[in-house]
Amino acid sequence: MAKVPRNFRLLEELEKGEKGIGDGTISYGLADGDDLMMSNWNGTIIGPGHTVHENRIYSLKITCGNDYPDRAPTVSFLSKVNLPAVNQKTGKVERLACLDSWKRSYTIETVLAELRREMANPSNKKLSQPAEGTFF
Protein backbone atom coordinates (compact mmCIF):
# COMPACT_ATOMS: atom_id res chain seq x y z
CA MET A 1 0.00 0.00 0.00
CA ALA A 2 1.09 3.55 -0.68
CA LYS A 3 2.20 5.27 2.50
CA VAL A 4 0.30 8.53 2.84
CA PRO A 5 2.73 11.25 4.05
CA ARG A 6 2.00 13.23 7.21
CA ASN A 7 0.68 16.39 5.58
CA PHE A 8 -1.70 14.67 3.19
CA ARG A 9 -2.93 12.46 6.01
CA LEU A 10 -3.65 15.54 8.14
CA LEU A 11 -5.44 17.20 5.20
CA GLU A 12 -7.69 14.11 4.96
CA GLU A 13 -8.38 14.29 8.68
CA LEU A 14 -9.10 18.01 8.42
CA GLU A 15 -11.60 17.49 5.62
CA LYS A 16 -13.32 14.71 7.53
CA GLY A 17 -13.45 16.87 10.66
CA GLU A 18 -14.91 19.80 8.70
CA LYS A 19 -17.73 17.63 7.39
CA GLY A 20 -18.56 16.57 10.93
CA ILE A 21 -18.20 13.17 12.49
CA GLY A 22 -21.16 10.92 13.19
CA ASP A 23 -23.61 12.42 15.67
CA GLY A 24 -21.29 15.29 16.60
CA THR A 25 -20.38 13.95 20.04
CA ILE A 26 -16.72 14.35 19.12
CA SER A 27 -15.26 16.99 16.84
CA TYR A 28 -11.92 18.54 16.01
CA GLY A 29 -10.36 21.21 13.83
CA LEU A 30 -7.18 23.18 13.26
CA ALA A 31 -6.31 25.59 16.08
CA ASP A 32 -4.89 28.05 13.54
CA GLY A 33 -6.33 28.00 10.00
CA ASP A 34 -3.12 29.60 8.69
CA ASP A 35 -0.83 26.90 10.07
CA LEU A 36 0.63 25.28 6.94
CA MET A 37 2.19 22.53 9.07
CA MET A 38 -1.17 21.66 10.67
CA SER A 39 0.46 20.85 14.03
CA ASN A 40 -2.04 22.20 16.56
CA TRP A 41 -5.63 21.05 16.79
CA ASN A 42 -8.60 21.67 19.02
CA GLY A 43 -10.86 18.83 19.99
CA THR A 44 -14.25 18.67 21.69
CA ILE A 45 -15.96 15.78 23.43
CA ILE A 46 -19.57 15.94 24.56
CA GLY A 47 -19.92 13.83 27.70
CA PRO A 48 -21.83 10.59 27.17
CA GLY A 49 -25.37 10.29 28.49
CA HIS A 50 -26.21 8.42 31.71
CA THR A 51 -22.78 9.26 33.18
CA VAL A 52 -21.46 12.06 35.39
CA HIS A 53 -20.21 13.63 32.15
CA GLU A 54 -23.66 13.99 30.62
CA ASN A 55 -24.13 17.35 28.86
CA ARG A 56 -20.62 18.51 29.71
CA ILE A 57 -18.50 19.87 26.89
CA TYR A 58 -14.81 19.07 27.17
CA SER A 59 -12.13 20.98 25.26
CA LEU A 60 -8.84 19.38 24.36
CA LYS A 61 -5.72 20.29 22.49
CA ILE A 62 -3.96 17.84 20.22
CA THR A 63 -0.45 18.28 18.85
CA CYS A 64 0.70 16.32 15.82
CA GLY A 65 4.49 16.33 15.65
CA ASN A 66 6.66 16.05 12.54
CA ASP A 67 6.64 12.26 12.78
CA TYR A 68 2.84 11.94 13.00
CA PRO A 69 1.18 9.52 12.13
CA ASP A 70 4.17 7.23 12.64
CA ARG A 71 4.06 8.44 16.23
CA ALA A 72 1.08 9.28 18.38
CA PRO A 73 -0.04 12.87 18.85
CA THR A 74 0.17 14.46 22.30
CA VAL A 75 -3.26 15.08 23.77
CA SER A 76 -4.29 17.22 26.73
CA PHE A 77 -7.59 18.17 28.25
CA LEU A 78 -8.06 21.92 28.67
CA SER A 79 -11.29 21.36 30.60
CA LYS A 80 -10.85 19.76 33.98
CA VAL A 81 -11.90 16.13 34.07
CA ASN A 82 -11.33 13.28 36.47
CA LEU A 83 -10.32 10.19 34.49
CA PRO A 84 -7.58 7.63 35.18
CA ALA A 85 -6.14 8.33 31.71
CA VAL A 86 -5.62 12.00 32.51
CA ASN A 87 -2.86 13.57 34.59
CA GLN A 88 -4.76 15.49 37.26
CA LYS A 89 -2.15 18.25 37.49
CA THR A 90 -1.63 19.02 33.80
CA GLY A 91 -4.59 17.54 31.93
CA LYS A 92 -2.27 15.51 29.72
CA VAL A 93 -3.61 12.15 28.54
CA GLU A 94 -0.98 9.73 29.80
CA ARG A 95 -2.58 6.31 29.83
CA LEU A 96 -4.75 5.45 26.88
CA ALA A 97 -4.52 2.17 25.00
CA CYS A 98 -4.59 3.72 21.52
CA LEU A 99 -1.83 6.20 22.39
CA ASP A 100 0.29 3.62 24.22
CA SER A 101 0.16 1.13 21.35
CA TRP A 102 -0.19 3.60 18.52
CA LYS A 103 -0.73 2.39 14.96
CA ARG A 104 -0.27 4.43 11.80
CA SER A 105 -3.91 3.86 10.88
CA TYR A 106 -5.11 5.64 14.02
CA THR A 107 -6.34 9.21 13.78
CA ILE A 108 -7.28 12.16 15.97
CA GLU A 109 -10.82 10.75 15.79
CA THR A 110 -9.58 7.40 17.19
CA VAL A 111 -8.19 9.17 20.24
CA LEU A 112 -11.24 11.33 20.92
CA ALA A 113 -13.61 8.37 20.47
CA GLU A 114 -11.60 6.25 22.90
CA LEU A 115 -11.53 9.04 25.47
CA ARG A 116 -15.30 9.34 25.20
CA ARG A 117 -15.62 5.57 25.71
CA GLU A 118 -13.40 5.90 28.79
CA MET A 119 -15.89 8.41 30.21
CA ALA A 120 -18.70 5.90 29.74
CA ASN A 121 -16.66 2.98 31.10
CA PRO A 122 -18.55 1.48 34.10
CA SER A 123 -15.52 2.01 36.35
CA ASN A 124 -15.29 5.71 35.40
CA LYS A 125 -18.78 6.87 34.73
CA LYS A 126 -19.54 7.71 38.36
CA LEU A 127 -16.18 9.27 39.31
CA SER A 128 -16.70 12.58 41.05
CA GLN A 129 -15.87 15.44 38.71
CA PRO A 130 -14.44 18.94 39.14
CA ALA A 131 -16.88 21.83 38.75
CA GLU A 132 -18.12 22.24 35.21
CA GLY A 133 -16.37 24.90 33.13
CA THR A 134 -13.07 24.80 35.04
CA PHE A 135 -9.72 24.43 33.27
CA PHE A 136 -6.34 22.84 33.91
Binding site: M1, A2, P5, N7, L11, L36
Partner: protein, 149 residues
Protein backbone atom coordinates in the same frame (compact mmCIF):
# COMPACT_ATOMS: atom_id res chain seq x y z
CA UNK B 1 6.39 -2.42 -1.91
CA UNK B 2 6.78 -2.54 -5.69
CA UNK B 3 6.35 0.77 -7.45
CA UNK B 4 4.19 0.62 -10.60
CA UNK B 5 6.19 0.88 -13.79
CA UNK B 6 4.29 3.98 -14.85
CA UNK B 7 5.47 5.88 -11.76
CA UNK B 8 9.07 4.75 -12.31
CA UNK B 9 8.92 5.91 -15.95
CA UNK B 10 7.37 9.26 -15.09
CA UNK B 11 9.95 9.87 -12.38
CA UNK B 12 12.85 9.00 -14.67
CA UNK B 13 11.59 11.38 -17.30
CA UNK B 14 10.97 14.17 -14.80
CA UNK B 15 14.56 13.88 -13.61
CA UNK B 16 16.12 13.47 -17.07
CA UNK B 17 14.14 16.18 -18.86
CA UNK B 18 12.66 18.54 -16.29
CA UNK B 19 10.11 21.05 -17.56
CA UNK B 20 11.45 24.63 -17.47
CA UNK B 21 10.94 26.21 -14.07
CA UNK B 22 9.78 22.96 -12.48
CA UNK B 23 11.74 20.58 -10.26
CA UNK B 24 10.28 17.42 -8.76
CA UNK B 25 12.34 15.04 -6.64
CA UNK B 26 10.96 11.92 -4.94
CA UNK B 27 11.71 11.24 -1.28
CA UNK B 28 14.22 8.41 -0.78
CA UNK B 29 11.94 6.69 1.73
CA UNK B 30 8.68 7.20 -0.21
CA UNK B 31 8.92 7.20 -3.98
CA UNK B 32 5.29 8.32 -4.31
CA UNK B 33 6.04 11.54 -2.41
CA UNK B 34 7.77 14.39 -4.23
CA UNK B 35 9.34 17.67 -3.19
CA UNK B 36 8.48 20.16 -5.90
CA UNK B 37 9.74 23.65 -6.69
CA UNK B 38 7.92 25.80 -9.24
CA UNK B 39 9.47 29.09 -10.30
CA UNK B 40 7.01 31.95 -10.56
CA UNK B 41 6.31 32.55 -14.28
CA UNK B 42 7.71 35.68 -15.96
CA UNK B 43 5.26 38.61 -16.15
CA UNK B 44 3.22 37.20 -13.28
CA UNK B 45 3.11 38.65 -9.75
CA UNK B 46 4.98 35.51 -8.72
CA UNK B 47 8.00 36.18 -10.96
CA UNK B 48 11.27 35.79 -9.11
CA UNK B 49 9.82 33.49 -6.47
CA UNK B 50 10.58 29.83 -5.91
CA UNK B 51 7.48 28.08 -4.60
CA UNK B 52 7.76 24.83 -2.69
CA UNK B 53 5.04 22.24 -3.13
CA UNK B 54 4.51 18.64 -2.12
CA UNK B 55 2.96 16.01 -4.36
CA UNK B 56 1.75 12.53 -3.47
CA UNK B 57 0.63 9.74 -5.78
CA UNK B 58 -2.13 7.81 -3.98
CA UNK B 59 -2.48 4.06 -4.22
CA UNK B 60 -5.12 4.49 -6.98
CA UNK B 61 -2.87 6.63 -9.19
CA UNK B 62 -3.21 6.99 -12.19
CA UNK B 63 -6.90 6.19 -11.83
CA UNK B 64 -7.05 8.94 -9.19
CA UNK B 65 -5.24 12.29 -9.47
CA UNK B 66 -2.07 13.17 -7.58
CA UNK B 67 -2.52 15.19 -4.39
CA UNK B 68 -0.65 18.48 -4.50
CA UNK B 69 -0.35 21.47 -2.24
CA UNK B 70 1.79 24.58 -1.82
CA UNK B 71 4.16 24.69 1.15
CA UNK B 72 5.14 28.30 0.44
CA UNK B 73 2.61 30.95 1.36
CA UNK B 74 1.14 32.47 -1.80
CA UNK B 75 -1.45 35.19 -2.47
CA UNK B 76 -3.59 33.67 -5.21
CA UNK B 77 -7.39 33.37 -5.54
CA UNK B 78 -7.28 29.66 -6.37
CA UNK B 79 -4.93 28.64 -3.55
CA UNK B 80 -6.09 28.64 0.06
CA UNK B 81 -4.29 29.34 3.35
CA UNK B 82 -3.24 25.73 3.68
CA UNK B 83 -1.80 25.66 0.16
CA UNK B 84 -4.64 23.63 -1.31
CA UNK B 85 -5.18 24.24 -5.01
CA UNK B 86 -8.47 24.67 -6.86
CA UNK B 87 -7.75 23.16 -10.25
CA UNK B 88 -10.24 21.05 -12.24
CA UNK B 89 -7.71 18.43 -13.34
CA UNK B 90 -6.90 17.70 -9.69
CA UNK B 91 -10.56 16.89 -9.16
CA UNK B 92 -13.36 15.97 -11.58
CA UNK B 93 -11.41 16.70 -14.77
CA UNK B 94 -8.63 14.25 -13.93
CA UNK B 95 -7.80 11.70 -16.59
CA UNK B 96 -5.26 8.88 -16.37
CA UNK B 97 -3.82 10.26 -19.60
CA UNK B 98 -2.49 13.19 -17.57
CA UNK B 99 0.81 12.92 -15.75
CA UNK B 100 2.79 14.47 -12.91
CA UNK B 101 4.43 16.71 -15.49
CA UNK B 102 1.12 17.94 -16.93
CA UNK B 103 -0.23 18.60 -13.45
CA UNK B 104 2.78 20.70 -12.50
CA UNK B 105 2.66 22.59 -15.82
CA UNK B 106 -1.02 23.33 -15.18
CA UNK B 107 -0.19 24.68 -11.71
CA UNK B 108 2.53 26.85 -13.23
CA UNK B 109 -0.03 28.11 -15.78
CA UNK B 110 -2.49 28.83 -12.95
CA UNK B 111 0.12 31.19 -11.49
CA UNK B 112 0.13 33.10 -14.78
CA UNK B 113 -3.65 33.16 -15.03
CA UNK B 114 -5.40 33.47 -11.66
CA UNK B 115 -9.13 32.79 -11.96
CA UNK B 116 -11.03 34.84 -9.35
CA UNK B 117 -14.37 33.56 -10.69
CA UNK B 118 -13.67 30.06 -9.36
CA UNK B 119 -12.09 30.93 -6.04
CA UNK B 120 -10.83 28.82 -3.21
CA UNK B 121 -9.61 31.75 -1.13
CA UNK B 122 -12.70 33.98 -1.14
CA UNK B 123 -11.12 37.05 0.43
CA UNK B 124 -8.27 36.98 -2.07
CA UNK B 125 -10.66 36.48 -5.00
CA UNK B 126 -12.77 39.42 -3.90
CA UNK B 127 -9.67 41.60 -3.65
CA UNK B 128 -8.68 40.45 -7.16
CA UNK B 129 -12.08 41.34 -8.60
CA UNK B 130 -12.49 44.67 -6.85
CA UNK B 131 -8.99 46.01 -7.33
CA UNK B 132 -6.80 43.82 -9.48
CA UNK B 133 -3.83 46.21 -9.40
CA UNK B 134 -3.81 46.27 -5.62
CA UNK B 135 -4.23 42.47 -5.38
CA UNK B 136 -1.31 41.98 -7.74
CA UNK B 137 0.74 44.32 -5.58
CA UNK B 138 -0.02 42.19 -2.50
CA UNK B 139 0.83 39.03 -4.46
CA UNK B 140 4.20 40.59 -5.37
CA UNK B 141 4.86 41.51 -1.76
CA UNK B 142 4.09 37.96 -0.60
CA UNK B 143 6.34 36.57 -3.33
CA UNK B 144 9.19 38.77 -2.09
CA UNK B 145 8.48 37.95 1.55
CA UNK B 146 7.89 34.19 1.42
CA UNK B 147 9.13 32.77 -1.91
CA UNK B 148 12.75 33.86 -2.03
CA UNK B 149 15.01 30.88 -1.57
Amino acid sequence: MALPKRIIKETERLMAEPAPGIQAIPHDDNLRYFDVIISGPAQSPFEGGDFKLELFLPEEYPMAPPKVRFLTKIYHPNIDKLGRICLDILKDKWSPALQIRTVLLSIQALLSAPNPDDPLANDVAQHWKENEQDAIKTARQWTAQYAHA
